[in-house]
Point group: C2
Chain length 189, copies 2
């Protein structure tokens, strides 16, 4: 009763967990296969190379984000949008996981070219959404209009990526919550 791409989906889900737990180079096709009760050659059937798997993972993140962002369109509140967005990173931190940007980013120097490009595209997509959200919030008086919009956007992106990482290193998700609390305090009017 399996759908055609059930295995493919299962591979992606396992790979995502490994990625966020210990990085892209932390897992092998053999690991994925063993977890799913198949052989590594079968994983290669779905993803011809690890590069292809990395690209697929990143495209998945981007599509998920875009779907979510579309669902929030016309929410009418920049503050509510950002709070909801932060919830995702908070949940990562609680599980001791980090975001895709941080996971791939640390190994950037040895990522295949196409993976690098997809990673850049993902970050760009998120950056544009944050920027637009802050801009709309400034106009509505919900977001402090201190400093340049691009600088404010950069701080938000840095804080979420760094927040999940320091939470994991210190072993306490609370530190991510703390960083996000202060971020809201300096952003919101």
């Amino acid at each position: 009763m399996k759908a055609v791409s059930d295995t493919r989906q299962a591979i992606l889900e396992r790979a995502e967990r490994y990625l966020q737990d210990a990085g892209f180079s932390s897992f092998s096709f053999r690991d994925l296969a063993a977890d799913l009760g198949i052989k590594s050659a079968s994983v290669h059937y779905h993803f011809p190379s690890k590069e292809a798997l990395g690209v697929a993972l990143l495209q998945g993140y981007r599509e998920s984000f875009e779907r979510w962002a579309a669902s929030r369109r016309d929410s009418g509140s920049a503050q509510a949008d950002l709070v909801e967005w932060l919830r995702y990173y908070r949940s990562l931190a609680r599980k001791g996981d980090i975001c895709a940007g941080g996971a791939f980013g640390a190994e950037y120097g040895e990522l295949p070219e196409r993976v690098r490009r997809e990673l850049g595209a993902l970050l760009d997509t998120i950056r544009k959404w944050v920027r637009a959200t802050l801009e709309a919030g400034r106009k509505r008086g919900e977001i402090r209009a201190d400093g340049k919009l691009d600088d404010q956007t950069a701080l938000v992106l840095a804080a979420v990526q760094g927040g999940t990482q320091i939470a994991r290193i210190t072993g306490s998700p609370k530190i991510a919550d703390a960083a996000f609390e202060h971020l809201k305090a300096v952003l919101f009017t």
Copy 2:
């Protein structure tokens, strides 16, 4: 004419570059040996295991930081201390490198136990310095006393770690500068 531990030092320096460029698992003892014109067995003479090398790297970071922090004692200005501290992360971003926390942090799930502990100790050392610096700055009226001190500290740590990473991913060090500019704007009175 080499000092006794010249090779050891050279190994550490090469390893640091690999680490900040592509992570702890990105380089092997063979890589280090080849770069230095020796054999991998000789690297093992200086560092019996990769775990030992990781620990030595982190202890080096911590000692460097502590020396630097001691040199700034009684500088009299929290703003000046933080600006100087941010210069380090700015320089990493310009080289396309990330900080040790980000480099080790992404692979946290598969780091040897002692490396994890040293990483925690390094972050804790830095966290305490940031906290104390912000606290002193608040008393002197240099730092905004908005919100909890611990939340403010967490945001600063998250921003520097995340800032260097997004700079590398986007390929532009400017985004780290932007994040740090806004960080100063929201911290300084």
